[in-house]
């Protein structure tokens, strides 16, 4: 045993013309591996015919210490010296044997190449992944529509309890935050609009500004973004963790269709709840705008409502309504799709959850742009 205060692992060399005897001293354990490694690296065997490791005076020996000795032995052999051990007790000999058996070419982690090539390669990979995601998402979308169709033809297959649960989670529980944000944005929009319109005496048109922008675009977009952040991510995380624990596989083997059991209730819940949330958002936005108009322009509530009637036509209300279920469908499908794409690890759940939010918001905005073009072309 190494004496206290002399912790470490080191070598003492005794040499004659042809033979080098290395006495291993101290504890050759992982905690002292660095020192042991260095003292072995200093040994110079050039010109020696044989090297003998003398383990008689060694303290403790563990696998790392044994590994270092074995590695040195191998290295000395390749340098032309015959390296052997003496003085190892039975246990140490067994350990050295085990380590010798465990010596095999290491399989390295893929090396990092040229940084520019790595960037180019990563870009290529990302592009390819986007392509694959688009294809798979389209396929998944088709699957959901098919399942939806089947369920409409045979409504008894619908999972009512689960659907209602998700309507509550994703819809009802989102009401407070959607209301609050819409109210504030409505007020801000009215305030800023009034400031600008005042410059050419058109303050009264603040009402038109708030009403039309909120009903056509802002209300439903705000709602969609919040729902993507709240519920799209929740769907991805829920389904993703089930995937990690092989619950989805278990479901399949039990003859349950995950699309029907997990995806459809969430999709239906959002399709139903989005118009409701959109309506609430519009109402609260108009209320927020109304409050500013009331305080800032001194318009009475009756007058505000009258002006709303004058400013809006049927299509201003209807375009918002028509978009809501489509956005709900897209957000739910993307959330579930990303959840199903989770593979293996907890980290994957995190990545897919993030992706569900990013892709959800992106898709909603792109589709909203298409709607705008469509409505303009139709002249509504």
């Amino acid at each position: 045993m190494a004496r206290e205060g002399e912790a470490g692992a080191w070598l003492e060399a005794v040499q004659d013309a042809t033979t080098l005897v290395l006495k291993a001293k101290g504890d050759w354990i992982v905690a002292h591996a660095d020192g042991a490694d260095k003292s072995l690296a200093q040994v110079d065997v050039r010109g020696r015919r044989s090297v003998i490791f003398d383990l008689a005076a060694i303290g403790k020996l563990d696998t790392t210490g044994a590994w270092l000795l074995h590695r040195a032995q191998r290295q000395f052999q390749t340098q032309g010296a015959v390296a052997t051990y003496i003085g190892a007790n039975a246990a140490q000999a067994t350990l050295l044997d085990a380590v010798t058996k465990g010596d095999r070419p290491t399989v390295d982690h893929p090396a990092h190449g040229n940084p520019i090539m790595v960037i180019v390669e990563r870009m290529g990979r990302t592009l390819e992944e986007i392509g694959i995601t688009l294809r798979d998402a389209t396929a998944f979308f088709g699957l959901v529509l098919e399942t939806l169709g089947k369920t409409i033809l045979n409504p008894r297959r619908m999972r009512l309890t689960s659907t209602v649960y998700h309507m509550e989670q994703a819809g009802l529980n989102a009401v407070p935050i959607v209301s609050l944000i819409s109210f504030l944005i409505g007020a801000v929009l009215a305030f800023q609009g009034a400031q600008q319109l005042r410059k050419f005496g058109g303050e009264v048109f603040t009402v038109n500004l708030v009403a039309i922008s909120f009903l056509r675009e802002v209300g439903i977009l705000l709602t969609a973004i919040m729902v993507a952040g709240r519920s799209g991510s929740a769907f991805a995380a829920q389904i993703g963790s089930m995937k990690v624990r092989e619950e989805i596989d278990a479901m399949r083997t039990l003859g349950l269709d995950p699309a029907e059991v997990l995806v459809l209730p969430r999709v239906i819940a959002l399709i139903v709840m989005m118009p409701l949330l959109g309506f609430i958002a519009a109402f609260m936005g108009l209320s927020g705008g109304g409050l500013v108009v009331l305080l800032n322009l001194g318009m009475s509530p009756e007058m505000y409502i009258q002006r709303l009637y004058d400013a809006l036509d049927f299509w201003d209300v209807f375009t918002g309504v028509i978009k809501a279920p489509v956005f709900g469908l897209l957000i739910a499908v993307i959330g579930c799709f990303e959840g199903m794409k989770v593979e293996g690890s907890a980290e994957s759940v995190g990545q897919r959850t993030t992706a569900s939010v990013v892709e959800g918001i992106f898709t909603v905005i792109v589709v909203d742009a298409f709607f705008s073009i469509l409505f303009i072309q139709l002249g509504v």
Binding site: W67, A91, G102, G344, S345, A346
Partner: protein, 261 residues
Amino acid sequence: MTGDAIISVRDLKTQFGDQVIHEHLDLDIYAGEVLGIVGGSGTGKSVLLRTILGLNPPVAGSIEIFGKLRSQMTPEDAHAVERRWGVLFQDGALFSSLTVTQNIQVPLKEHLKLPVQLMNEIAALKIALVGLPAEAGPKYPSELSGGMRKRAGLARALALDPEIVFLDEPTAGLDPIGASAFDELIKNLQATLGLTVFMVTHDLDSLYAICDRIAVLADKRVIVTGPISEMLKQEQPWIREYFHGPRGRAAMAAKSAPPRS
């Protein structure tokens, strides 16, 4: 062959809510022994292991580890103790975002400062020692089978060459050849490193092959401890059924049969 108790549990009580798992439980673990813990499903073997590891606070009783009372340990003491043990959880509990090699290097990096090259070699060696192919190193846990994950978990538990390893049903999920190889490995490590092993197991072959002592968990406490020969003499119905049932007899026969050559 057994020395002093390196872990002693006295009058331990654990419970979850109203459900009492252990009460008046005493257990000693001696240096250099392989201690097998057996007991019916749900008798609290895993909970006992977690309690000793400090993952599950006991309601009453004391746990002494390497001569220090758990309840009086400072965070530094606890950190020092963690260096001296390795744990293999029931399903491996590998970090899923790291490769097998990186998993093995986690304790090395946490507790020591070693050159990268040496850490890679140590990881490769441990992978070899637990009987995994070298190709397993750069793989992620999700790319391995259950049995391989278990071996990788063992490799991580052995990373720091601990004095004691805690194994929760290590051979469950391994094929019979792999299970015997594992027993062999534990035996070797114990012989070479003076390793102490605390092993929850249902594998009767392991109990016969490598356990020096067996502790039986029943009625919320350890009802008997002793070598296998003692277990065979016990009259307690569960123990009789366990060691004299069809599987028990088969394992006994396998042990006493002359080795084939």
